[in-house]
Amino acid sequence: MSSVKLVGLDFGTTTSCAVVASAQMTRSAVSGRVELTEITEDYRSEMIFTPLGAHGSLDVRSIETHLDSWLKAGTVRPDEVFGGGALLTGLTAQSANAAALVELIRRRLGDALVATADDPCLESWLAFMGTCAGLSRSRPNLAILNLDIGGGTTNIALGRAGEVERTGCLFVGARHVQVVPGTYRIARLSRYAAALLEHLGIRKGPEDALSRAEVDAVLDFYCGLLEATVLGQSEKLADPVAHLHEQVRFRMRPVAELAVTFSGGVGELLYAHVQGKPWPATTSFGDLGIDLAQRLAQAPFWRTHLAHFQPASAGRATVYGLLRHGTEISGSTLYLPTPNVLPLPDLPILGTVSPDSTDEEVQTIVNLVLRSRRGGCIRVELSPEAGQAASPPAAALREMGGRLAGAFKSSCFPPGHPVVLLLRDNAGKTLGHYATAWGALPLSLVVVDEVAVRDAQYLHIGRPRDQVVPVSYYGLLGETL
């Protein structure tokens, strides 16, 4: 099958980078599905400090220069990009002009890949997949909790057998307290750090130097928060300052055997230390990242985990996650009578229908799609649980397809309005036929099958290639993905 191009762009609190890769689309003889294999890195940019302007906003013009040089060096043509994604993460995503950067990326790369900001659960998911998906698949009975500790956030994901089960996010990171390199003199404080210092009774701000004891107090708080999260000690997260540091609450569940892995900039420092490399000089990155890594490496609780498992790509987990896992590939018998309706970017996912849904509920969701300016997606759940059935029985498809057709008909659904049905079963073609009454209803319908139906707000469907389409979710919700 053919070769495709993937692009991953990560704009984090501290650093930004790009990776461009080629991959082969291969049909698995075991699953029958098309998969991306032989992912080969064609280009990897230097890690740059995310350019900042005045008052902590992004220096979009400078980023534009970097972006253009990356795309040129990676010989990326927008029309040949099949998947991947661009993510603004951590404090960068919360910058006032984050939207301008998203717009810039879309101008450069068109609808080829999803570009999104402030999507912490997606970041957690991607970091897990980029760090330890292979490890997790090879140890399917082992629960793995990945902590992606970057400049602004710690993205948490718990997974097993290569699948993420739940995610969360804390405002714990290296760069909340920025200092003059080589010293502990404060250069800038995030609003979370300012609140923390106040909570700790440290009345200091920019230009003041933190004492060793004060630095330790900050690190104690961060490590305590991380430990309480991993151990599921929700009572320790109850006080207002701890609560302020929770972006998305992570709810740990009991597991028989747990491994903890690290990624992000702090994770990279930790594993370099485990491999015997010396620590960088004191605050040489102008933040507390090195100190946080040292504190974690010294604590017996974390040290055990560090010694046991050393995942791949710790420092660039998000971008590798984007590259390898940010895009899913549909089944190859999707319902797509008019391929030129694709790509369909930024489609809202508006609800779920199942055999238990009433006719009124089905009609309500169809009406929501009708009222959505861009059209929309409906999740269709036919088999009770993921992986339980390759395809639902003919009677179930006929029934569900007939009810959808009835709803489309009674709402006088207009022909050009995009509507996408998503399902995990291999039944897209036949469901599409039934839902259009075997072509009698002139709908602009796409049925994408054999994809994980995630709890997300938006969906991005790329152009078809070799009878499949790339699908990316963003705006992930909930704890169970």
Binding site: R137, T333, A394, R398, K429, Y434, G439
Partner: protein, 728 residues
Amino acid sequence: VKTLTPLAAIPVPEPKPEEAYRTRVADREITFRGLKSLLGAADYSKAGDRNAGLAAASETVREAARGILSGLTLQHLYEHPLTDDQGRVDSVMRVNYDVDREAFAAVAPMTLGQLKDCLLRSPGAEVARLGRGLTGVMAAAVAKLCDVHELIYIARKISRPSKARTLLGSPGTLSSRIQPNHPTDDLRGVSLLCYWGLSVGGGDALIGLNPAVDTVDNVAAILRHLDALRRRTGAPTQICVLAHIKTQLACLKRGAPVEILFQSLAGTERTNLLEFDINVDLLDEGYRTVAREGPLAGLAEQFMYFETGQGSEFTYGKHNGIDMTTTEALTYGLARRYDPYMVNNVTGFIGPETHKDSFEMVLANLQDHFMGKLLGLPMGMAPCYTLHSDITLEGQQMASELVAAAGANYYMDVCLNIDRMLAYFDTSGHDNQTLREVYGRLPAPEFLDWALERGIYTKNAAGAVERGPNWGNPSQFCDSNAEFQELVSATPASYGFASAGPRPADKVSRLVKINQGIGREAIHAELRIEELRRIAPFRLVTTQATSKDAHLGSPDLGAHLSPESRAELRPEHKQVQIVVSDGLSAEAVHHNMKDLMPVLQDGLAGRGWSCGQPILARHGRVKLAEEIADVTDAELIIYLIGERPGGDAQASRSLSAYLVYRLGKPLASGPQSNGSGAARFEYTVISNIYSGGLPPTEAGGVIVERVGDILKHKAAGNRLEAALKANA
């Protein structure tokens, strides 16, 4: 590079009118009209020769034929070249006459009986020398006079080594070709099967893959991958992708590493030309090109690899009235022209129409090995079977033991005996190691050094080579367990890598055998007509195959309606007619119809196409669709038929949908038509319909959509694909 004798310079006697060969046996006169008839009757009875009307009717007749043959001189055979159906000496026969004249002169006055005795009495080097003076017909004739011990004893004396990176076939060695076939050429699965083979000491002859897709792009990509694996592991061996010779030459031209050039061969010119799309000129060009321009030029002494097997000429109906053993020997006479590095024989691959059971397959393998070695070839063997024959794993193992005793140069290494792409069963790495230990054989010397270094083998205190700590551990070639697991996840029929001594661990063997058992049961099951009639209002038709045995053993019978059914069917002038048949798996029908038929019927009705009452055909083959289309005057047949089961129990429930479009007027041959000659029907195929592949409910939607395309464009197959591409 060997100088090839121009065809015109090879002297061949003029064909003569058929002689009558007569003898008296216990007051009974037995006559054979012509040499072809005599040779056919003198052989062990095998299904292909019985189906061709060539086998002797009884043991008495067979022994009578052998008696006559035994008294004929080699000179007589020389002077009576076998001809094709037009009375011509074809190019394959002509090449067979390119013999060592001095050696032939020594045996020409001998009778075949005397020649056999001479071969039994002579030392190996003399046997090898005399063999180069024989044509294929002569080698086949003497093989027919040999019993099992003689086929083994004579062949065992002949050494036919060949050399590329490794030295193959030297005394005391038994080598293997890793055959890492994968149904979709998934390079991850290919890697795993190569790693497995190398870890059990296999692959010293070759790493050779039969591609699922024979295109220059795909074959070049696989060649590069195999080359990378060879370099990564450091294994001293050579690589090959067994694509068509034209594809490989195009790959070589593009710079892909075509180290050994492969081609399937047959023993008649018509089979080679019309079925394999090759002739002697093309083979000559291929040999010269790879020897001069291939990566092993200047390093190897041989460059060609041929695959053969009894019965292909008969299966294609192009055997020129010659029996299977003789056409096989003629193939060897053709292969000998190119001094090949490897020749391997896959007798048993075709099915019960050529070799019905283990006995026929075992004897054929011994004959083939004997004839190949005698004629001068470095013979490797692949005793094999399909589930629709009565050959069993145990029968195949008996063949392997006997041919190893006879001194085969190498075997195939097909992981756990299951070819995941070709759905048949061959020798395995476990088998090869078992035979090495039973017969005291070692891998090729260069490869052995490498395997000792890797701990795949080790030397004991007495200096004897034994399995080492890394024997049977394919993950030793991976960087991580995660990498290994990914390779495993891409490989069907991964039943485990645990071993017990040189054999698979029992838990692995049990999985292999239960999957085969289920597959075989699916083939022999009969359609449950009443159960199927509860799903759809089927009308039943029968074919000329009146029993399951007849259906499996004579494919042509299932391609035609029985006279009664033909009389019952009338022209109905419908657009679409559904036909369901057991084919080679009635269970595939039983497992899929419940979900497939309702969707199909809803779709055909929803689209408003006129349809005939569904037909259920017992003991049908694919070609039956054409006759039903003609008799009912249907524009399109949706023919749902059970596929031949392989080594996966679930896949033995796999159904194919052949969409057979009847052309208004026949298409002349050309690039846009399907196949050679004027085409009356075009086929679009949707395969792998079962719960683990394309689920039956989804298949219904796919079939309806494709029927719409065919009716709209009035084309199927290649023409439809071209039309859809043009519209995209």
